[in-house]
């Protein structure tokens, strides 16, 4: 059983296009995240939702828009893609706020903008 699943795994697209990445978790967690990993492997949080409510919004261009239809899903839509958006995007989820609650990560979506 896949705990945190994201689709697609690979996405190659041209500059200027709009694309979406989908994420679903079957762990019953309340909180979901999007992280971006650059070519140097640096992982940085982009967004976090708790029970469908946006609670973390880092300094991310407004071309990136997360959407959480329910607490098991957090999708990421990117408008007007740029070369610098090329990266691996990871979805994650965690049980709750506080306590010792590690985040569980999906397998990542490698986005290549050409």
């Amino acid at each position: 059983d896949t705990a945190v699943s994201q689709t697609p795994k690979y996405l190659v697209t041209q500059m200027g296009n709009d694309k979406s990445i989908k994420c679903e978790q079957n762990l019953g967690h309340d909180t979901m995240y999007w992280y971006k990993q650059d070519s140097k492997k640096f992982l940085k949080i982009m967004f976090s939702y708790n029970n469908k409510e946006l609670i973390i919004n880092e300094t991310v261009p407004n071309r990136f828009s997360p959407k959480s239809p329910d607490k098991a899903h957090l999708n990421l839509h990117i408008n007007s893609l740029e070369l610098g958006d090329s990266a691996v995007y990871f979805c994650a989820s965690s049980p709750s706020q506080g306590g010792m609650t590690e985040a569980f990560f999906g397998q990542g979506t490698r986005l290549t903008v050409v």
């Binding site: 140097k40 492997k41 640096f42 949080i45 010792m100 985040a103 569980f104 990560f105 999906g106 397998q107």
Partner: protein, 113 residues
């Protein structure tokens, strides 16, 4: 600014040796720390965690040490195996920060037979 740890150095060890991966964190308000392992083409995988009121925690073949005085975290892997080869990240959670994890750049562990 926010920063945790490393700039992706590589640690090369012989199979069977012990490995120690170090991490420096910057935020004194961090209350929780995690070590993740990331294999090629996969997402980060939880290894072990530690709360800020502890200084040591042991798992199976892994130990995490926390020194809050110098804001230093380490991961010790006993009897390193080829399957341990991966990039290792430390991450800190700032108290009151909605479970936001701040990651370091990672250390690549290469295990040689």
């Amino acid at each position: 600014g926010e920063s945790v740890g490393l700039h992706l150095p590589t640690l090369s060890v012989q199979e069977g040796d012990n490995s120690i991966i170090n991490c420096a964190y910057s935020n004194s308000a961090s209350d929780y720390f995690i070590w993740y392992k990331q294999e090629s083409g996969k997402g980060p995988q939880f290894i072990i965690d530690i709360r800020s009121n502890m200084d040591k925690r042991q798992g199976q073949r892994v130990t995490v040490l926390l020194n809050k005085t110098v804001k230093h975290l380490s991961l010790q892997i006993a009897a390193t195996q080829p399957g341990d080869s991966a990039v290792y990240f430390c991450a800190e959670r700032v108290a009151g920060g909605y479970n936001k994890l701040i990651f370091g750049a990672g250390t690549r562990l290469a295990v040689h037979p």
